[in-house]
Structure formats: structure tokens, C-alpha cells
Amino acid sequence: MTTATAEHLRHSVWTTYVFSTDHKTIAKQYLAQGLFWIVVGGLLAGAMRWQLAWPDTKVPLLGEIGPEVYNMLVTMHGTIMVFFVAMPILLGAFGNFLIPLMIGARDMVFPRLNMLSVWTFALASLVMLASFFVPGGAASAGWTGYPPVSAKPVYTGVTWGINLWILGLALEFASFLMGGVNYLTTAIVLRAPGMTLARVPLVVWQQLTAAALFLLSVGPLIAGAVMLLMDRTLGTGFFSPELGGDPLLWQHLFWFFGHPEVYVVLLPALGFVLEVLPVFSRKPIFGYRWIIGATVVAAALSFIVWAHHMFISGMDPRLAMPFSVTTILISVPFAYLIFAMIATLWRGSIRFDVPMLWALGFLTMFIGGGLTGIFNGSAPADIYLSGTYFIVAHFHYTLFSTVFFGGFAGVYYWFPKMFGRVLHGGLGHAHFWLTLVFFNVTFFPMHHLGLAGMVRRIANPLQYDALVPHQWINVLATYGTLCLLAAQIPFAINILWSWLAGAPAANNPWNATTLEWAAPSPPPHLNWGARVPTVHRGAYEYSVPGEPLDWLSQDSAPPARTETGSPR
């Protein structure tokens, strides 16, 4: 069969830590890169906010920012946060760590391909980092890179910056194509005995749906990226009207990928919250099968909604209504998911540990994000709101709540299992409440800036008469951002200190039922000792009536006597 076991025999520093094919080490390598980039992305955001609050003053470390540099900050902040923070942490780190452990496998089905994917991502990171230091600076055509601005170097003055930006993204796509193939095949092929599809935990379902979404949606954008690279270097005319091309082609190809991409980022974090809520309510998740159905339906619908990003982009106006309807339809499965999460709290026995706080933070903030999405989904309202700070507020309430609140729910919940150490609770609580408060201080007033007509990606709001009276909001949002960045310091201290000297963690600190808690913390090589666990129960057997404990691990002995609700 696979020669996975043979490779794992050689134990040296190299194969254990650097060129390791162990899915847990690869997960930590993705996490490390994601955390590096989150610091860079956060500092870029800080610089942007400083320029917006006090235009043309000296930004610490960067000096005075001109409009070109501001456009570069906007572009790189967006690109880094979506592709180099959200994807590696939510999909790369947790997908790699959780999928084998939660389905009872020893490792990914292709360990070497898995290692190749993390090193391709490292190369992509290197290329993106290098693009900051090439002459002309990094990309500055927006994270969406609309041509003709991005198609001709003369329009932005950036030549190598955008070429490396395209190359970096292409490498990142290749890395997650390999990762996605690995995730899907592992889950289809390597499930432990008894781990039927109906017993696979929801976070694994969400990771797989996200991987499939990415695999099937990235294709046209790869074609588009090659076209853009050829337009910039070989003088082809895909996006230049004088040669017969059309700038709208890029927008269609980009958003055909763009919308499924935001679900690729959302679903894993949604999976973390769907795992955390039952554990800390000691109650099964509400509607396990319906949640899987809703996720798959939402994934399918996400392929036919993309043009709601293009209502006023010059696209044929008759297309707006069909896409407005599909956008409305996709809000239905997510409405189900939100209500199912709320229903999970009903008649629970809720404990407010740190992972639960983050999960509840995600639930509430994501509801805010989802509701403002209805404004943008309606074509007439989007005439006014498109391209304003209302959109910036909307996608921070959805993306930020996903990556930060959802992501931190996962980090605080699985840190004991990943590193075998317990995180400090006090620092965790401080980190949560500070982040929650300053997140809202920063992004809630942006709705008002958007309603007042502030357009996106402008370096100096004081150039617009209508915005001068609202400048205090920009100052408030900047103070919010600086405090939000400072609020991450407790987390940094907590994670470093606990990783090195934290109290050792038990195998199952949260008394959870899923398989990864049946393995030691941190799990050894090949996860399970001599025998892979055999699964007898569903993933959420909490507070089963008539049982001494309020939880039953998935691999605990089958019910001796016949039960009324016998777990399938």
C-alpha cells in the first residue's frame, strides 16, 4: 500500500522539523507563515488608517505616504490578508492538522505532496515579500487588480511589483490546489473503520467543501492571470480595447473566482465555530445533516452569484436582476446555518471559556456582516453603496469576523492539542474583549462614512468637501485600529509563553467527543499508537440521557443495551 510508513522511519532534525511529511508539522509551518503575514497585514492597515486620519503627516516607520504608496498599502493589505493570512491559517494550518486526526487517519494520503504544497506556499510568500523591494514598489492596482490599471505598467508606474504579485498569487493557487487535492482524497479514502460520512465532524465537512470550492473556481482566474501577465509583458490585448480586448473580461473571471473564494475562507472558520458551540453548550449541534446540506447548497450557489460585484461596472444592466436573485437565494442556506447555531445554544449548559467567547463573537459579528450584505445584494441600493466605505465595513464584518473571531475560536480550542500546552485564560479573555470592542470601534462607523458617500481607496478624505465634516470618524477609526493592533499583544505573549512554558495539556481538556481528543496532546507521529480507533458514534453525543458522563467519545464502546435514539 502507500509507503508512508517507510518514509517516517528516518528521524533527523531535517525530516522532523523542516522537511517533514507529518501533517501536524506542516500545519504548524502554515500557521507560522500565516502569523508572520498577519503582522505585516496589520501594520499595513495601521499605516493606511494613520494616513486617512491625519493625511500627509509622517507615519511612524514609513514617513510621509504619497497616493502611490497608499494605493500600494491598500492593495497589499487586501492581498495579504485574504491570500496569505486567511487561506494558510484557516485552510492550510487547521485543514492539515484536523482532517487526518478527526477522521482517524495516520496522515494525509499523499504526505510528500502535502510537504510540496507548504513549500510552494513558502515560495509564494517569498515572491510576495520580494515584490515590496523591487524598483517601483509592490502592486498598487487594488487586491482585485482591475485592468487597464493593472494591465499597463505606465498606469501605475509599477512594473515588477505587479508581475511578482501575479506570480506570487499563481504559486499560492498551485499550493492550495495541491493541498485541496490532498484533503479531498484523504477524507474520501482514509476514514477510520466506522467513520461513515454521517459521523464525520462538521469542521471536516466544511474544510472539504472549501477545498472543492477552491479547486473548481480558481481555474478561470488562473487563465485570467496568465492573460494579465501576457498583457503586461508580451503586449497582448486581452484587456485593452484598442487591440480588441475588454476590461470587463477580467472582472468576470476574477469575481467568478472571487465569490467562491470568500466562502473558501468562511467555511473553515464556520466549521471551527460549529465544533466549539456544541462542546461548550454540552449539547449536540442543531441539525447536523441539514447543516451539511445547507453548506453544499451554498457552495453550489456561490458559483452563480459573482456578478453582484459588478452591478455598476458597465456590465449589461439586464444581468443585474438575475444575479440579485441568486444573491438573495444564497443568503437562505447561511440564514439556516446562523439559526442552527443559535438553536444549539437553546436549552444548553453554556460555559464561557475563551474558545466559546470567540465563537459567540463570530456568531454575532457575522450576523452584522450578513445583514449589511443584503444592502449590497439589492441592485438599486448597490448603485449608491458600491465602491464606498459601506462595502469596506461590510466585508470587514464578514472577513475579519471569520479570520479573527472564527480563527481565534479554533486557535484557542485546538492549541492544547497542537502544542500540548494550555493557553493562559486571563490573557485570552483580555484579548477577546479588547478585540471585540476595538473591532466595532474601528469598523462600525465605516458604515456611516459609506452612507455619507466616502469612496474607497482614497488617500486623503479632506480633498472632498462632503467628507470634511465627517473626518472625526476617520480619526476615531484610526484610534480604533491602533488599539485593535495593540489588543493582539496579549495574544502574542500568550501564544509564545504558553508554547514554551505553558502548563502541559491533558488529552481531552474540553471533554469533547471528536476523535482528535482521543489521541495524546500533542499527537505523536502517525497519530494513533498501534491501532487506529474504531468509530461507533456520531460526532456530537453530548448529554445523552441515561449516561453517567455528559459526553461520549466517538470511539467509545457501542451502546450495550438498545437505546431509544440509537446513534447511527
Binding site: 473548481l216 475588454d246 473580461l249 468576470h252 458559483f303 456590465m315 444581468l319
Partner: protein
């Protein structure tokens, strides 16, 4: 190791492919309206593609999961093409 599935007659399939290619090229020289030639040419191309996929790629013997992996992308591509039509085929004025 691999399941001993019956093998289609590969040589016959290859001959069919050669013949169809010849037909396709010949069809492109059809006089008269282009639409007939275009329809024939693409019908031939589709038949060739199905022949290769079903026989050489053993799609005929694979379980439903593999079929889904081929048909789902094609469905999304039809949706993408359909949505591009209004903008690039029926658009109003373009210099």
C-alpha cells in the same frame, strides 16, 4: 492491484479517432455557409473527446464520484459562458 476491468479495443478506438479527425478537417473545407462546417467540426471534436475520455481514460468503468468530477466543471463553464454573452456579444457600442 488495479481492478481487472475489461479493456476496450484500444486499436479500434485509435482508428476511429484518426477517421474522425480526417472527417473534421474535410468538413472544414465544406463550401457554402460556415455554420454547417462549424457544427460538423465541433460535433466531431466532441465525439473524439468522449471517445478518449470513455475508453482511454476508462471513464466508462469508474464509479459515480469520478463522473461528477468531470460533469460539474462543465456545468459551471456553461453558466460562465452564458453570463459572458450579454457583455461581449450583445453589448451596445464598442469602438
Amino acid at each position: 492491484m488495479t481492478t481487472g476491468k475489461p479493456h476496450p479495443n484500444y486499436t479500434a478506438i485509435w482508428l476511429w479517432l484518426m477517421g474522425l479527425m480526417g472527417l473534421g478537417v474535410a468538413a472544414s473545407f465544406l463550401p457554402g455557409g460556415r455554420t454547417l462546417a462549424v457544427v460538423v467540426v465541433f460535433a466531431v471534436a466532441c465525439v473524439k473527446a468522449v471517445l478518449v475520455a470513455a475508453n482511454f481514460m476508462h471513464l466508462r468503468f469508474e464509479p459515480a464520484l469520478i463522473y461528477a468530477l468531470v460533469l460539474i466543471p462543465l456545468l459551471f463553464l456553461v453558466v460562465l459562458a452564458a453570463a459572458l454573452l450579454p457583455d461581449f456579444v450583445w453589448h451596445s457600442v464598442s469602438r
